[in-house]
Symmetry: C2
Subunit: 341 residues, 2 copies
Amino acid sequence: MPASIRDVAESAGVSVGTVSNVLNRPEVVSAATRERVLGAIAALGFVRNESARQLRAGSSRTVGLVVLDIANPFFTDVARGVEDVVNPAGLALILCNSDDRPEKESAHLDVLAEQRVQGVLITPTAELTPHLRSLRRRGVPVVLVDRRAPAADQCAVAVDDVLGGRLAAEHLLERGHRRIAFIGGASGLPQVQERHDGVEAAVREATGAVDELLTLSPEALTVAGGREAAARIVGMPASRRPTAAVCANDLMALGVLQEMVRQGVRVPDEFAIVGYDDIDFAAAAAVPLTSVRKPRQELGSRAARLLLDEARGEGHVHVQEVFEPVLVVRESSRVRRTGGR
Amino acid sequence: MPASIRDVAESAGVSVGTVSNVLNRPEVVSAATRERVLGAIAALGFVRNESARQLRAGSSRTVGLVVLDIANPFFTDVARGVEDVVNPAGLALILCNSDDRPEKESAHLDVLAEQRVQGVLITPTAELTPHLRSLRRRGVPVVLVDRRAPAADQCAVAVDDVLGGRLAAEHLLERGHRRIAFIGGASGLPQVQERHDGVEAAVREATGAVDELLTLSPEALTVAGGREAAARIVGMPASRRPTAAVCANDLMALGVLQEMVRQGVRVPDEFAIVGYDDIDFAAAAAVPLTSVRKPRQELGSRAARLLLDEARGEGHVHVQEVFEPVLVVRESSRVRRTGGR
DNA sequence: CAACGCCTGTGAATCGTTTCAGCAGAGGAG
DNA sequence: CTCCTCTGCTGAAACGATTCACAGGCGTTG
């Protein structure tokens, strides 16, 4: 139904080749002809059919971004960084949400493969699914976001999460906390594991023992997950109950905070909280959250640039970029009545 | 480079038509042949080329969603609602962010038109741009989200924002506030205008005068915009300074709250705040925000269903759905020392 | 035994764009 | 006047999947 390039050609009295030239290399067409063709295009309301163009070109002008949780502002900030790079390059972004579920992730990857996207940016679920591998084997560039590459044969943009965990824990230890909880999801994400390892190492060095570290694994890395973990902590006997928690992300930290407030536990006086990601809302929370800051937007833009470079081919060198996180101290861990246990 | 349907046909010793049948109407192919073809598909790692399929079909298996601010959780919740409807229908979602800028919006619409999307869901910028009109004229279904349709010739899913504004204002008036501010962006969005009108009507009815309503229009409907407005309010002489504000969305309300806290103004004792949208973070704010709740996810899913219905053709009836907002009272407007002026 | 219908499968046309070899005509050089 | 070059345009092939009219093969029926 919509006008095709042939209709335009007919209406302008030229061949389809000429119309295509007007569209793609206007400089090879004489000014008079160009005007005539552009006039016909406007008159007919012609819009290029991307499918046909793609069919010919072999790949589309889109890239895919698959995130773990679209409701987590961390990922929308990453997406914004990606957009800032990808749109100016004339590419559209297909944003997919896996909800940390491998099936959804696979389904999205299938769609992206069928769309012949230029490449895929992804924060994968725990296991690198076979879909992801086969995508790469098929020659589709894949850049991991907020996750280290398992090998040097692909690009990845990550954050030193062991360091991040360590920063968070050392901060609490300095404030005199000894019984510390690490609250991470049950999903088994390596990023979360690394944060845990950083916390654990710091706790061991400071206390000489690891059993001071309580690890809680609520269902999901969400506000609800944080509430769940907090409820369990409050339910523990006071003698064993931790006095502070490092959370695997800010959403969980907000959940912990909410539940603590609800249960009448004063934060930070009775319980200190450190979040992770430093999303904008962390600073606006009931008790402003201490958090481990990651360069969210830059994570996205850097990953997108690497992807475009790889898609362009020609001597692309795989890069594993690792950003350093920074601890931002706010109210939720500020005070500490008593030192030691 | 990737295997085509022809390679599969060759490898399985059948014609391309048969392969296509296996893919699209497996029931017309004998079991033996089907197995053989599926085997070849697996062996070659064949993936359908959507471009080719679309070229033939005339339209793609995607829908577009254009939002005003991807960083606003309200819109990610809407997006989630859309996804829940659209993915099960076998369609992919292209999520675009206009940042409330007509040029970006137009650029995104161009891309979506070239992609031959099945339809577009959009929360448009202030003016309905010519691009949007021409899209509709070209027969692409367009459903407005969180915005009323200017005429009955298209679908729209909105919220009664006059009522929302009224609910917010009446609540504050009941609490004894008389000098009230309305904080909305300068973008001229009708949704915001309606909220303003609702507030204004309520104020007029209660006080008999409109000049009790101070309207502030910061640059953008963001946290920063809220801070900016709050700073201006604090700078006013106490005699004329409002004692409460209705904000056009929760992000601004959070900004107002932050700035008030920073300036040492106690909320709600010295200044009450009501937000709009009731995003999840509203309840988790430093002072939990009273807010006007909209059915965020349902807004998206309803809009998506209408879009799919319209795309399917066959006796589609345009629907203008208007949801009723509900006031959720929390700490930010709870108390009020003194009544009246 | 012929006629018929059903079941499978074939092969060519088609979608709209890009690309490229090649052609007409103008202008310049000899 | 012929030969050559350059500019501007043409026309057809190609991309990969879908679709549809149709062709064999086989069993059934009268």
